[in-house]
Symmetry: C2
Subunit: 474 residues, 2 copies
């Protein structure tokens, strides 16, 4: 069928207004939050119902057109870049919270709901959706699920995957499946629900989700701790966990990051210090205060230079602001900011930090490191300029070594950002040949024609490694 006839068919499904082929729509959906990756889609559609998603998918299946589902595009692994063109399916119109079930402690949502709105809505019922993502003021829950998003409370509460109880999804052939439900226990057949979490839109298109909620913690308290040495900060992380304390947040920032944040936000960080930790505990007041006191003691024993415990809600927001503004601050500090996601067993955090420092010095590249220390999830972030090809080549080599170091320490190439295009070249190292073959066979089982977000996770060629300014398909 001719391109114009297909477009006409898509218009019939979603309405002319919601099927766009103009340059503006195509340009704004040619990239996500990952620098250096861009590819143009042929058409951008905005479905409003599962039935519309199904009808669109059936056309795509018949015509063998790639389909890339997308929320707000905050992805950091180029997972939402339509590298083979085709249809970008945007879920901003499917943005309803369908039900908050207080008896079963669940919430059922459409994929386009903004994560922060979900938080606010359930908290109004004294309920709690723990995944606390850096991007949650913008990101959608559908994107969070597709990427298996992590965030700041992973250590105590786990990540998105721990809260997805049931899904409705459209398969590559247009079939609609429903998995799971409002159930604490369910072992009927394979766990397709959790398998779709983190599958980056390559296996199915999520059209509805039922999520687990917890009672909202009664109280929370936050503390910032500064150290004159990197090792002492890293050691504090280990000492806290070894003391059998599981704080809800345990964040790390190195001096480079602190300096950039201070320049950007001017919140009075002591930038002469080598590292800071942000610690938060939640739960019943007496318990929170006990844990805070114990963590304070541990940090003092490790010669922390300064400890600030938030006395008021305002104090707390100020401390957390340092962490929340990190990505924005880093992004504005240089022309090109490449944020990575190497993750290791938490006891290997000191070794990993030393390794990153050594590598960045050896390649003469500027790397600021921050991240979720309690999860072993670091974000070494390179401050560079994509116009400097020589430096960019060194950056790429440095990151390859950082990924290697993470794997050697028993870690992973991506803790929470996903593989997308950016990390696909490193998958073989992590999974081995047998593992890659298995992943390929699974992909084929779901999507034999490679229509769903093609080119992601599975590395195809050197050419795709950087698809910067890749032209649109005709």
């Amino acid at each position: 069928m001719s391109a114009s006839k297909i477009i006409h068919e898509l218009e019939q499904i979603v309405g002319k207004k919601y099927c766009r082929t103009d340059q503006e729509a195509r340009l704004t959906h040619s990239y996500d939050a990952t620098p250096l990756f861009q590819a143009w889609p042929h058409v951008v559609v905005y479905p409003q119902t599962t039935e519309q998603v199904q009808a669109l998918m059936k056309v795509a299946h018949r015509e063998k057109i790639p389909v890339i589902s997308r929320g707000s595009g905050t992805n950091l692994g180029a997972s939402a870049v339509p590298v083979q063109g085709g249809i970008v399916m945007v879920f901003t119109r499917m943005n309803k919270i369908l039900e908050i079930d207080e008896k079963n402690l669940t919430v059922t949502v459409q994929p386009g709901v903004i994560t922060r709105q979900l938080h606010d809505a359930v908290e109004a019922h004294s309920l709690f959706y723990p995944p606390d993502l850096g991007s949650m003021a913008i990101s959608t829950i559908g994107g969070n699920i597709a990427q298996g998003a992590g965030g700041l409370r992973g250590l105590k509460y786990g990540t998105t995957t721990d809260y997805v109880l049931g899904l409705e999804a459209v398969l590559a052939n247009g079939d609609i499946i429903r998995t799971g439900g409002k159930l604490t226990k369910n072992v009927s057949g394979y766990d397709v629900t959790r398998f779709l979490v983190g599958s980056e839109g390559t296996l199915a298109i999520i059209t509805e989700a039922t999520l687990k909620l917890l009672p909202k913690p009664a109280f929370q308290q936050t503390m910032a701790v500064y150290f004159s040495g990197l090792d002492a900060a890293a050691e504090a992380v280990s000492a806290i966990i070894s003391a059998r304390i599981i704080p809800c947040t345990l964040e790390f920032m190195d001096q480079g990051t602190m300096k950039v944040v201070e320049e950007y936000a001017g919140i009075g960080l002591p930038v002469d210090q080598k590292a800071m930790l942000i610690l938060e505990q939640d739960g019943p007041k007496e318990l929170v205060e006990k844990d805070l006191a114990q963590m304070e003691q541990i940090c003092q024993n490790l010669n922390a230079t300064k400890i600030e415990i938030a006395k008021t809600g305002k104090d707390r927001i100020k401390i957390l602001e340092a962490r929340r503004t990190t990505l924005s601050a880093l992004a504005r500090a240089t022309a090109t900011t490449i944020l990575e996601d190497a993750t290791v067993p938490r006891a290997s955090i000191p070794a990993m930090i030393r390794k990153i420092t050594e590598i960045s010095e050896r390649y003469n590249v500027r790397i600021c490191t921050f991240g979720h220390a309690g999860d072993g999830n670091l974000h070494p972030t390179c401050m560079t300029d994509s116009r400097n090809q020589d430096e960019l080549a060194r950056v790429e080599k440095a990151f390859a070594e950082i990924f290697n170091a993470a794997l050697e320490l028993g870690g992973t190439i991506t803790g929470e950002h996903g593989v997308g295009l950016a990390k696909a070249p490193y998958m073989k190292q992590q999974w081995g040949i047998a593992g890659i073959h298995l992943l390929n066979r699974i992909k084929e089982a779901f999507d034999p024609h490679h229509l769903l977000n093609p080119g992601k996770i599975f590395y195809q060629s050197e050419e795709e490694k950087t698809c910067q300014n890749r032209p649109a398909h005709p």
Copy 2:
């Protein structure tokens, strides 16, 4: 190759002593804990290393022989019955705890470790492996993982799947894969780790597992509450959760179950009451006591007839004994005890209990109901006699209606026991045709020749519905 040559090859791999074709070995591995299902394997092997498992699997793959991996055989869905004969691979020799990592809060084990031994070993380090299975004095961790075992602490702590961080597994073609690791966060490729949990040995053979641990709760307290009406007991469950209390255990037993347990164990249960709840909370002492007091108040408001709070460790064990002995008591009370596993959203527990009562009366069958009320996970248990063919036919019809009722209430045909052979005929109702097709394609991706635990999960024919006394293959 001839059967005797294949047996010789298997002997070469594991040693003659650990490759058995005698009638005793074959008989004792022809059934698991599920009544009415039996089928003889050709050979029983006991590997000691992953490399032996791999070598065995390569022979099976070459010769297209079914392989059923098995721990202690406590399964209640006939998942370990070798319905197509072949090789039963028993993991009792791979029973080592390889590492307790106190810094990363993980334990790495071989699959044959007895669950109770794992509990004891980590608790000696003040650590805690939450899944608390009814069968854990006998069951193995490999079996727990293969079945996605649930247990008594699901409401607060989740089930086995929430604690599996990494796996080593042998695929149907003999490939060895390693997934995950000592990582809180990991989104590198599909979540094969959790997908293998609950896959009942149909996708891969698990040879090693890394499990997540928590700090051991400082304190726990237990309470038994009796009610003169079923509805009040069911309402108490809802009222507790609605009050935003998440106890670690919230068990239910009806009068029929109480009577059987009392006859068996003689522990002084007030058998004139209609229902009992067993409630337990763990955590810091002050918090546990606060929750217990609040739950006591809720039960009093619902006119509980008697409340016993354990004052000593002995009291606690006595209360929990009522629950722990349930299966043994029911199993001995009649010739044939069929224990089911219908599970619903927890707010639907009252509706489900009413439905079970109505169905059992209509079919004139004796059903005792107990289970994990906090999880919506009920075990309606039929007391029957397999020699009474007329009654058995009514039992089968009653259970079919019970499964239907669970699905109508948004539930599942199996909360924690798995599908196996017993529930395979009901899978289509839960998944729909599109879902079943997808599960089939996934199975093919892992195991194209259907060598791994064939006949399970996927229902083939009426004949297989009861494979009682199925003869051994030649």
